[in-house]
């Protein structure tokens, strides 16, 4: 059931991207709605505001989760396309491991800033 589990995870991450990215978009761009709820959205797209948000645990966790699900969804989808276009068992293995390494590298790089801001 390996391929099935990976594919189900691909579908679940698609839904999670919509949710997490939705939260991010609402926080940054839908000021009028947030104002109605009484949230202070002053200058929410400025650098200082962004750094301040990333220093909060809940926002750092949201962005790290968004990075993880987006990376999995994107790389698994791209892997599927490439596997279809280069149908070979050996090539498939190389492609899979390349994408795992790219994913881990990109995740490590992407989480460095929020983790650094949290610890400082």
């Amino acid at each position: 059931m390996r391929a099935t589990r990976f594919h189900l995870l691909h579908m679940i991450t698609g839904v999670l991207i919509a949710v997490l990215l939705g939260i991010h978009m609402v926080r940054l761009h839908l000021d009028s709605i947030l104002d109605w709820f009484g949230v202070d959205t002053t200058d929410s797209t400025s650098w200082e505001s962004m750094i301040a948000r990333a220093s909060e645990g809940i926002w750092a966790a949201l962005y790290i989760a968004l990075l993880a699900v987006a990376l999995y969804h994107a790389l698994y989808g791209l892997r599927g396309i490439i596997l279809e276009l280069t149908p070979s068992v050996k090539a498939g293995r190389i492609i899979t491991w390349s994408f795992i390494m790219i994913g881990i590298g990109a995740f490590g790089w992407g989480t460095y800033v929020p983790l650094h801001l949290l610890s400082s």
Partner: protein
């Protein structure tokens, strides 16, 4: 064929003979066509009257054997099941099925499709091997259970779904709609116990999850089988099992065959009596 009811149709046929070393090329034939004439009859006319070297497969001429699948006016059809007048055109292009290698002219090599079909074990698998080898009775199946997979059992293995499938066009390791639909057909059969065995065969990198539900297979199938539906139902079974939502099915029990009964309506008497 009377003069008034016939009209000339230009058959543009793709010719290719790997043994000659030529590239595939077009050859045009003028075929007299009458109402109700099929593309296969046109090809038979060409072979009998114009060019006996034209190669194509045919057998039953009634959409049962699945031999005469070909690309007619850029769409996969059974030649025996397709009337010339359906196209409302004086020109027909006839090519071999795509996604399969050409043996000669309109004859394609269906071996990869049959190998994929064989790989999913298209037969009833049971745990009680002794009963399978030496049956003592019948496996029970009610009509509702039969309806769950009956339409998928109408597959004639013509290869038209494989020719129409966009994934089969790019991924030569893909199992293809024919094999996947037949996998569901046997998994959905209440007499079968081989679901787990088959799941491991289709749950691969080039297996069931490579199907993107284009639906071209179902649209092209000349027998009205819906391979795309079968694949979706098989995906649901796999997903349910992976999530632990699927209950284990009890295989159908072995029952004695029905006892011989008298016909309800008596057999009519012969109206013509033999001389005594």
């Amino acid at each position: 064929m009377t003069e008034s009811s016939t009209k000339q149709i230009a058959f543009k046929v793709q010719r290719y003979d790997p043994e000659q070393g030529d590239a595939p090329h077009w050859q045009q034939f003028a075929v007299p066509s009458s109402r109700g004439m099929t593309v296969l009859e046109g090809l038979i006319y060409i072979k009998e009257n114009l060019d006996s070297t034209l190669a194509f497969r045919t057998s039953c001429r009634m959409g049962i054997c699945g031999s005469c699948g070909m690309l007619i006016n850029n769409y996969p059809h059974l030649a025996c099941h397709t009337q010339i007048e359906e196209f409302h055109s004086n020109t027909l292009t006839v090519r071999p099925l795509p996604n399969l290698s050409i043996i000669k002219d309109l004859v394609v090599d269906l071996t990869p499709m049959f190998n994929n079909h064989k790989s999913i074990k298209p037969y009833i698998l049971r745990q009680d091997a002794q009963e399978m080898e030496n049956p003592t009775a019948e496996f029970a199946q009610i009509p509702q259970e039969l309806n769950d997979f009956l339409q998928f059992a109408y597959c004639i293995k013509c290869g038209i779904c494989v020719a129409a499938c966009p994934t089969s066009a790019s991924d030569r390791l893909f199992l293809g709609p024919q094999a996947l639909a037949q996998c569901y057909r046997y998994c959905a059969d209440g007499r079968d116990e081989g679901q787990q065995e088959r799941f491991s065969l289709v749950d691969t990198d080039h297996g069931i999850w490579r199907c993107h539900l284009a639906g071209a297979c179902s649209e092209a199938c000349p027998k009205g089988v819906d391979p795309a539906l079968a694949i979706q139902l098989l995906k649901r079974r796999l997903a349910s099992q992976a999530l632990g939502l699927r209950k284990k099915q009890q295989p159908s029990s072995v029952v004695s065959p029905p006892a011989e009964t008298k016909p309800k309506i008596p057999f009519p008497e012969f109206t013509v009596k033999g001389s005594e």
